[in-house]
Amino acid sequence: MIGQVNLLKRMQNLVDNNNFPRFCILVGDKGSGKKTLAHHVHLQCFKDTVFTNAGTSVEAIRQVIDNSYRVTIPTIYLLADADNMSVQAKNALLKVTEEPPNNAYFIMTLQDINNTLDTIKSRATIFYMEQYTPKEILEYTEITYKENNDIYGDLCATPGDVDLLHRVGAEDFYMYVEKVADNIATVNGANVFKIVDKIALKDELDKYDLKMFWKVFISVCAKRDDWQLITVTSSAIRKLGIKGINKQMLFDEWILEVRKVWMQAH
C-alpha cells in the first residue's frame, strides 16, 4: 500500500488495542485506494479473519446481516462503492450498525460522505483517505507501470488518476488538452462542440475521463497564468458532484463560459 501512512498507523493502533470499530466508513475520491486500503487492513492488521466483498443491493445487505449474526470466525464485510446504495438497502443496514454482531466488522466505502443516511453516519467511525504526495504518485507509477515520468506527479492526485492517464497515454493526453486550450476560444461555433467527441461522458474506456480532462486543463491554464479559466473549470468540476448531472450539458456550458471569458479578456 502506497501512501496513507498516518491512516494506516491509526488503524493498526485500533486493532492492537482491540478497539477497531465494528462499523466504519472510508471516504475518498474515486481511485484513491479505498478498497485497496480495506484489503490491506485485513491482510496486515486483521490476520486470521475472513474477508467478504458484500454487494450493496437490498437482498445482498439482508443476506450479509443474516450471515453476520451466525459467523464464528471474525469476518470483515466490505460494502464497496456505497454511494448509489438504495434507501431500502441503507435502512436495512441500520439494524447491524445499531447492534453489531460479535464477530463481524463492516467497512463501507463512499466518495461523498453525504451519500449515506445521517443515522448511519452517526453510528460509524469515519476515516478520510489522505492526500497523496507527488512522490507517492510517482512511486505508484513506477511500481505499477514501470514508468518514471514526472507528468504523472504533476497531473495525478490519486492512483486511480494514474491508471486513467496511463490507459489513454499521458503524453498524448497532455498534448490534446494543450491543443484544446489553444483553440477553444477561437474555433468556429459550429466546430467547438466537437471537443466532446473525445471525452468519456458515459465511462467509455477509449475516451478521456472528463474530470481528468478538466484537471489537466487547469494545470495547462496554471502554466499560462490564466486564472479566470481555472475558476470556470473548477466550478465545472464541482458541479460534476451533482447526482445525475447531465454531463453533456455541463461540458457544453463549460465551453460557452470559456469562450465568453476569453472574448471579454480580448
Binding site: 468556429n188 459550429a190 457544453d252
Partner: protein, 328 residues
C-alpha cells in the same frame, strides 16, 4: 356471436359454455376490451335468464346469499377489482357454499399471474385481448356506416379501443340525428356522405378526442419557431405525462443543433458539426428565428434548470414555464 380475434385461453370454452348454458357460477374477466366484456355479460344474462347487478364487493352480498330467503331473486353479480375477495380464502369458500343459482363475474383491470388466486381460478379466467384491426373495423361498420378510410381514422384516434370507438360512434350518431334535417339537398344521398361529414366535423372541432402524439417534438419546434401555440402544446405534453427533464433535454439538443448549423461556415455541415443529415435537416427548419446569442441563452437556461431541478433549487413543475417566459 362473432368475437373472432380474441385469443384468450378460455374464450372458445366460454363461448361453448354460453351456447350450451353450462357456465361456471364464478367467472373472471381481464383485459382492456370492456366493451367486448359487456357483450359477453349481456349474452350470459340472456342465456341464464338473470338480471345483472353491479356491486362494490362480493363480500357485500354474501350475507344475503347465506340468508336463503324464499323471495330472494337470483342475479348475475358483477364486481370490479375486488382485492378483498381475491386475497381471502375463507370468503371464497363461503361464496362457493352459498352461491346457489346466482352467478359472479369478477372484472379485473390487471391480474398478477403469480398470485394464488390466479393459480386457483385459472380455468375461470377469460382474458379479453385487444381486437385485431380487421375485426374491430367489422364491429365499427356494423354500428355505423363509415368507409374503410374513415374507420381507420376512427380506430387510430380511439387507439384501437373498441369501448372508446363505441363512445365516439355515439357522438357521431347524435350529431347526425340533430343535423340531418339541416343538410343541403345535394347531400341527401342516404346518409353515408353526411355521416362522413359529421365525423370530420366532430374530429375537427375536438368533440372527438384525439390523443396528442409526439407532442414533445411539436412543442420544441414551436419554441424554436417562436410560435405562441407552444404554450398549448406544453399543456398537451403535461397531459400525457412528459417529464420536464426530458422536455428540457430535447429543447437543449435542438437549440444546440440550430446554433451549430446557423454558425457553420463550411459547406460540409455534417463534417464540421458532427450532426447527422436528419439533425441538420431539422435544424435548418428553424434557422434565422433566433440570433446565435439567443440560442446560447436557451442552452444556458436549459442547463441552469436541469442542474436546479437535480439540486432541488428549482421546482420541476415550474422549470419549463420559466424557460418559456425567458425565451419567447
Amino acid at each position: 356471436m362473432d368475437t373472432g380475434g380474441e385469443k384468450s385461453m378460455d374464450a372458445s370454452a366460454l363461448k361453448a359454455q354460453i351456447q350450451t348454458n353450462k357456465l361456471d357460477p364464478l367467472l373472471v374477466f381481464t383485459g382492456d376490451e370492456w366493451a367486448v366484456q359487456d357483450i359477453f355479460i349481456k349474452q350470459i344474462s340472456k342465456v341464464k335468464g338473470l338480471e345483472t347487478k353491479r356491486i362494490d364487493s362480493i363480500a357485500s352480498v354474501v350475507g344475503k346469499l347465506k340468508s336463503r330467503s324464499f323471495v330472494q331473486k337470483n342475479y348475475i353479480y358483477i364486481a370490479r377489482d375486488d382485492n378483498e375477495y381475491m386475497q381471502n380464502d375463507k370468503l371464497q369458500a363461503l361464496v362457493k357454499e352459498s352461491i346457489g343459482n346466482n352467478m359472479f363475474i369478477l372484472l379485473l383491470t390487471n391480474v398478477d399471474k403469480r398470485l394464488k388466486f390466479y393459480k386457483t381460478y385459472k380455468d375461470n379466467i377469460v382474458e379479453f385481448e385487444p381486437l385485431k384491426p380487421m375485426v374491430l373495423k367489422k364491429y365499427i361498420q356494423k354500428q355505423i356506416a363509415l368507409s374503410d378510410s374513415a374507420c381507420d381514422k376512427l380506430m387510430e384516434v380511439c387507439e384501437y379501443d373498441y369501448g372508446r370507438c363505441l363512445l365516439e360512434i355515439d357522438k357521431i350518431k347524435r350529431y347526425f340525428a340533430n343535423t340531418w334535417n339541416k343538410r343541403n339537398e345535394r347531400e341527401r344521398d342516404g346518409g353515408i356522405s353526411w355521416t362522413h361529414k359529421c365525423f370530420e366535423k366532430l374530429l375537427e372541432d375536438g368533440t372527438i378526442y384525439t390523443p396528442p402524439k409526439d407532442a414533445i417534438f411539436e412543442f420544441v419546434d414551436a419554441i424554436l419557431d417562436r410560435k405562441i401555440k407552444c404554450f398549448d402544446l406544453y399543456e398537451q405534453c403535461k397531459a400525457v405525462g412528459e417529464a420536464t427533464l426530458v422536455m428540457i433535454s430535447v429543447l437543449y439538443n435542438n437549440a444546440k443543433a440550430v446554433l451549430q448549423v446557423q454558425s457553420c461556415e463550411s459547406k460540409d455541415v455534417s463534417k464540421s458539426t458532427g450532426l447527422t443529415g436528419f439533425q441538420i435537416m431539422n435544424a435548418r427548419k428553424h434557422t434565422g428565428q433566433y440570433r446565435n446569442g439567443e440560442l446560447v441563452n436557451i442552452m444556458k437556461l436549459c442547463t441552469k434548470c436541469e442542474q436546479g431541478i437535480k439540486t432541488g433549487r428549482i421546482e420541476e413543475q415550474f422549470a419549463m414555464e420559466y424557460i418559456l417566459v425567458n425565451v419567447l
